[in-house]
Amino acid sequence: MTPRQVHSPISLRARALACGRGDTLLIEGLDLDVEPGAGLLLRGPNGAGKSTLLLSLAGLLPPLGGEVSLFGHDPEDGPALHYCGHRNAVRPRLGVRQTLAFWRDINGPTGLSVDAALERVGLLPIAGLDAGYLSAGQQRRLALARLLVSRRPLWLLDEPTAALDTDGHRLVASLLAQHLEQGGLAVIATHDEIELPALRTLALAARA
Amino acid sequence: MIGLGEHAEFIIAAYAGIAMGLALVIGWTLAAARSTRRRLAELDTRDRSDRA
């Protein structure tokens, strides 16, 4: 749909990364390299630490050890990543379109227009609705639309397909394919299947 | 002991208050120290036996 555009070539590196919650160590000595155009699927049983790892990669949770770096990224350019967690940041009393426009404003209008993004995730027909009225899957779609309105090379997605219908699963796959094709990179924690050739899998073991 | 003059009760009250306050602070600090030390020892032995 969009022409092939190239993100600034950034790669994600983690060296000897240790992360966990509080002082509970969940993951230790992890080395990661994700190159432009590549995606990494995080898999593992409930409680293995997938969400924790994503938060640490996003810089929202200080790692307990080791380091994460975005190789090739100039901090002056602003944040290089989108994090999309369990919570959708959708607030009742704001319209769907307003919500997305707000995200676009705070993250920079570097991607699709608001309506184009809503169209892409299938929410354009209800763009005027109060966002608090959306069904679980629709809220998830709105959260995904956030990734489209501001272009950033690295996507960190925590269970992006949660609550989505089969069509939504395909949507996520196609969004990801397009993002990777444009030179973006992604780390995705999920329990569902996402069939894409460019995805490697990293299986996290249940903690001992 | 010397006489404390007409306001002896206030002087005594002030010193008694300080004594009580200090006793409380010291006692509380020591009690916390003792109970944590004991608990730590207990946990350490349990931890070691768990691993063994």
Partner: protein, 221 residues
């Protein structure tokens, strides 16, 4: 700037959009003023003497009421995490929120203050001075409030903690706020108090976004 305005509009819309928060705050303010006569008895002279103090206390307490809504809902629905990764600096987000807090919790009080002036038998000059001192002083309360709210967002029982943290810090604002009204006699002293209030507000406004942003960045998640 775009992001700053976006936060400003969003929060204004949320605060005003039918949630009744503004009305609650104004009602609280008026109730506080209205029950004072019952406490001190119907002595007009006495009432008008303590009126500036009552107005300031009511304003201070009413602003504490809205504090929990500053960051808490955003923290709970995940918006705060987005702010931390947004293109706008977190300090700008906090600044926008401080402004909204002032607009929705302080400005309505100032607008409602004529009511209190009548209830408490203030004369007109005193009332005018009250409005000026509120206008100059409440920004500092909002700024301190933001720090208190930011420091307590991640604790799960913020509600009352933020007020007790910031109340001691707000003492100078109260003292000079009331001082500027009460010292009607010496205009230079009242002027000095007002100047001091303004200085306090400016400094607090300038510094609090950074302190609050740091607290959020290091405390959240």
């Amino acid at each position: 700037m775009r992001g700053f305005l976006a936060v400003l509009w969003r929060d204004l819309r949320l605060a005003l959009g039918g949630s009744g928060d503004v009305l609650t705050i104004v009602l609280f303010f008026v109730i506080t003023g209205a029950i004072t006569p019952f406490a001190v008895g119907p002595d007009q002279a006495l009432l008008s003497r303590i009126a500036p103090g009552i107005v300031w206390i009511a304003a201070f307490l009413a602003m504490l009421l809205g504090l929990d809504r500053l960051f808490r809902p955003d923290q709970e629905d995940g918006t705060l995490a987005l702010y931390r990764l947004a293109d706008v600096p977190l300090a700008a987000v906090v600044a926008a929120k401080v402004i909204v807090h002032w607009l929705t919790a302080a400005l309505p009080l100032i607008v409602a203050s004529p009511l209190l002036a009548v209830l408490l038998a203030m004369d007109f000059p005193t009332f005018a001075r009250t409005v000026v001192s509120l206008l100059l002083g409440t920004p500092a309360l909002a700024a301190f409030g933001a720090i208190g709210a930011a420091v307590t967002v991640t604790t799960r029982r913020g509600g009352l903690l933020a007020p007790i943290l910031i109340a001691p810090l707000c003492v100078p604002v109260l003292i000079f706020g009331v001082g500027a009204i009460a010292m009607g006699g010496g205009p230079d002293q009242a002027g000095a108090a007002l100047l001091f209030l303004a200085a306090l507000s400016l400094t607090a406004l300038a510094l609090s976004p950074f302190a609050a942003a740091l607290a959020i960045d290091w405390g959240e998640e």
